[in-house]
Amino acid sequence: MIATSTEWTEKYGFLRARDSLDWPAVECPQTELMEFLRSLKDEEGFDFLADVTAIDHYDADPRYEVVYHLFSTTEHVYLRVVTPCAGGAQPQCLSLVPLWPTADWHERETYDMFGIRFSGHPDLRRILMWDGYPYHPLRKEFPLAGIEVELPSPDTTEATGGATAKPAPMMGGPFHSPQHGTMARREPRADDESWTEVRERADNGEAAAPRDLRPQE
């Protein structure tokens, strides 16, 4: 069984090796993708498509890359196949549904989160967000807290008196401790501050912050 990325690139000339910490990873252009994956499935024994996802490189070109994780249940080896998406702002990729039917919902999720259209997909629509949702949430420019949108159905908006999907409260909310300062300040604080580590240290005459144990540059 092929064990390293370089062996894969030797066997299939159009592949490029990709840095990987765990299992072999290769990059494959879209033109060779279907043939390569078909030969992986039929000849090399990668019968299980474990995941389909994408990466958004905000500044690089191509902006989106689709990542496939393949697994061989007979040999117990993984392979990661990455393919760049053509199309810039409206990225396109080929659909793997003819080869692995499980790709159906994974590609729907990738479309929902990144906006990558899969040509040949039988039913490409949103799966996690609702059908009319106007954004693609895992794109780099989309904020984690979200953007205010109307609720999916008008009768809910009417029944609740105009509720909308608001951005979620981030830093400064009741469950977020400040992410700067000493560990004692960063931990969640209780209402009862009758004992704090800072005051204890001050009482004992020590420095307010524990000694920095990181190796000094």
């Binding site: 949430p137 984690l144 979200g146 953007i147 159905s153 609740t160 608001k166 469950f175």
Partner: protein, 183 residues
């Protein structure tokens, strides 16, 4: 068989009649048979099921009747994370419940959105339905759920049920008269 005078009620003397305030009777009946509508969306639903089991026994309170139909239930226990996609459904089920109805937000996700500060999660179910009791925990222990339901019982005990019923009767009568006048 005579009852002892500990209760101040002697059935031989007073007959089988008990005199009380309407509110006391109505509230007693309502709070001792709160039939939950388990809106079990996520992990809190498991703790809700555990509370329904024999170890924690929600049946002691008359609440073991988990009616999944909103038409037949009294209290909607929102147990789990409410996404915006699901919010529409939760609101619709709430609208289909008959009065009197209460809502219990069980767990951190239902109360405030919990650990999910994101674009997809409703930050607290009280943004779309009025909540009576908030139960904290992730998930709350079954005992915490039972404590929350007991507090709901306390809340129901102090309601002005008769006034609400009379008001509703008056409102219905008015609506009917208006409808007749319209015809």
């Amino acid at each position: 068989m005579t009852t002892t005078t500990d209760y101040g009620y002697n059935s031989k003397v007073e007959g089988e009649v008990v005199v009380s305030r309407a509110d006391a009777v109505i509230n007693w009946i309502r709070r001792h048979s709160v039939w939950p509508m388990p809106m079990g969306l996520a992990c809190c639903a498991i703790e809700l099921m555990a509370a329904g089991g024999s170890r924690f026994d929600i049946s002691r309170f008359g609440m073991e009747v988990m009616r999944f139909s909103p038409r037949q239930s009294d209290c909607m226990i929102v147990a789990g994370t409410v996404t915006y996609k699901m919010a529409e459904v939760v609101r619709r089920i709430y609208d289909q419940m008959a009065e009197p109805k209460w809502v219990v937000a069980m767990g951190a996700c239902a109360s405030t959105g919990g650990m999910y500060r994101s674009y997809a999660v409703l930050q607290g179910v009280d943004r779309i339905v009025p909540v009576d009791v908030y139960i904290s925990g992730c998930p709350p222990r079954p005992e915490a759920l039972l404590d929350g339901m007991m507090r709901l019982q306390e809340k129901i005990k102090n309601e002005a049920s008769t006034r609400d019923l009379l008001r509703e009767r008056q409102r219905n009568r008015l609506a009917f008269q208006q409808e007749l006048a319209g015809v």
